[in-house]
Symmetry: C2
Subunit: 294 residues, 2 copies
Amino acid sequence: MVEIIVAKNAGFCFGVKRAVKLAEDSSKLTLEGKRVYTLGPIIHNPQEVERLKSKGVIPLEGQELHEGDAVIIRSHGIPPDKERQLREKGLEVIDATCPYVKAVHEAVVDLAKEGYFIVIVGEKKHPEVIGTLGYLKESGGKGIVVESLEDLKEAYRYERVGVVSQTTQSEKFFKEVVGELALWVKELKVINTICNATSVRQEDVYNLAPQVDVMIIIGGKNSGNTRRLYNISKSLNPNSYHIETPDELDPSWFEGVKRVGITAGASTPDWIINSVRDKIKKICSELSLSSSSR
Amino acid sequence: MVEIIVAKNAGFCFGVKRAVKLAEDSSKLTLEGKRVYTLGPIIHNPQEVERLKSKGVIPLEGQELHEGDAVIIRSHGIPPDKERQLREKGLEVIDATCPYVKAVHEAVVDLAKEGYFIVIVGEKKHPEVIGTLGYLKESGGKGIVVESLEDLKEAYRYERVGVVSQTTQSEKFFKEVVGELALWVKELKVINTICNATSVRQEDVYNLAPQVDVMIIIGGKNSGNTRRLYNISKSLNPNSYHIETPDELDPSWFEGVKRVGITAGASTPDWIINSVRDKIKKICSELSLSSSSR
């Protein structure tokens, strides 16, 4: 018997899973004759967006909104004034903002109220950061987004600085920013808002890849986080393969194999992971039958 | 004319200068028949300690204290229970604790009251750190002294961590500690209590040494911070000399010289710096007379 081990942390992170679930639940509103939109694609996975579209959950691309329509805020969140505008239009707002992102909003507002100048470690144009900046602005606080140590200089003029992070920020850069700031300002308050979804997925691969005969990594070929998982796996186990769908599985990979490991990038839905697992099971049982019949 | 430039930041730091001044003022108490002691040598400079001794300010080395004696707390500070014991004995306590060290005590007490687990970045056996730990203990707070990243692990168990530093801590290590902690704990509050006396002395040498023909560095041959000033100077200007007293000045160093730079370690009193400057002036004017008489 072949043993198939799916990494403990594989595929959707908590916030994406929750957002997709909310979108799916909202599709029922179409039965009441409502139109259901998502503000931008709910997830960067075309198959999943198509699946939800078939259920009536449509990405907003310039369509005119009418009172009573439902609008889903995706996991990145949006600025509070944007959310108010939606509500004032009489739309039904379904807030799928990731709770970890909400925690960043709260941290920024609290720090601003305590009088800190805010440093948001993150990408200036990322929708999550744009949302967080909206909360900072609304609280009446002052702050900047820091992409490089060069950006940080503006913060050195302040005595009391509060730091938060975009949830998907790299730990390495966050650490550098906090260390520099600690030398320049008198008082520094840091709320670590990095979500560990990426790092735990990578850690799982470090653990799993050396223990198995073959390692299958599922996710878009254009998905950065999936490619990083594949590279880690390949460095530890030469029999590592990066696929998007079960159709790409090659039976020859599994000949004489006892243990198969599976993981998936953060934008890969469970149903794709499951179909891959089922296909591997099938391939392996066919291989075993043909070898025992020899 | 030879130009002699004394570095802006040379010799005693603010806290040491203040402690020596308080010791000097206290010597007047001997006129009232009081005995005046310092808790340990007030400064690591034997000439200065001798000078104060001659005025009646005696380092405490096991002498029995009597009610009415005066006791000087040196710039490092002491734990609050020790100070209370002195006062309860009926001694006159003269507190020469450096105000920057008092700021560390206050920061630790405030952070402990706010419920933070305290990390003191510093040397476990340094008298300043022992004093600070006393204030932490008295406030009912919990914390550790961190000399290495290994020591830091104990702090990872806590969600909210407050950080202060021994005033003479290296900026590099402080930055490392703060960066690591920011990744491990949920909320980090850092009060940067590093005193910049050492770094500004070094910066001055970086600026001054390349501008002068000869650079004179004054301070004990066994003084670490003076040796570091000398090494920086030597790397920028080969005509750099480390001396303890004016007697070591060699007239040949000043032949044909137009500009002389002077600096001194943090334990070098002004009167030694001044006597070196006067001696250089004298040497240079003698050299100029002998060259014009040729």
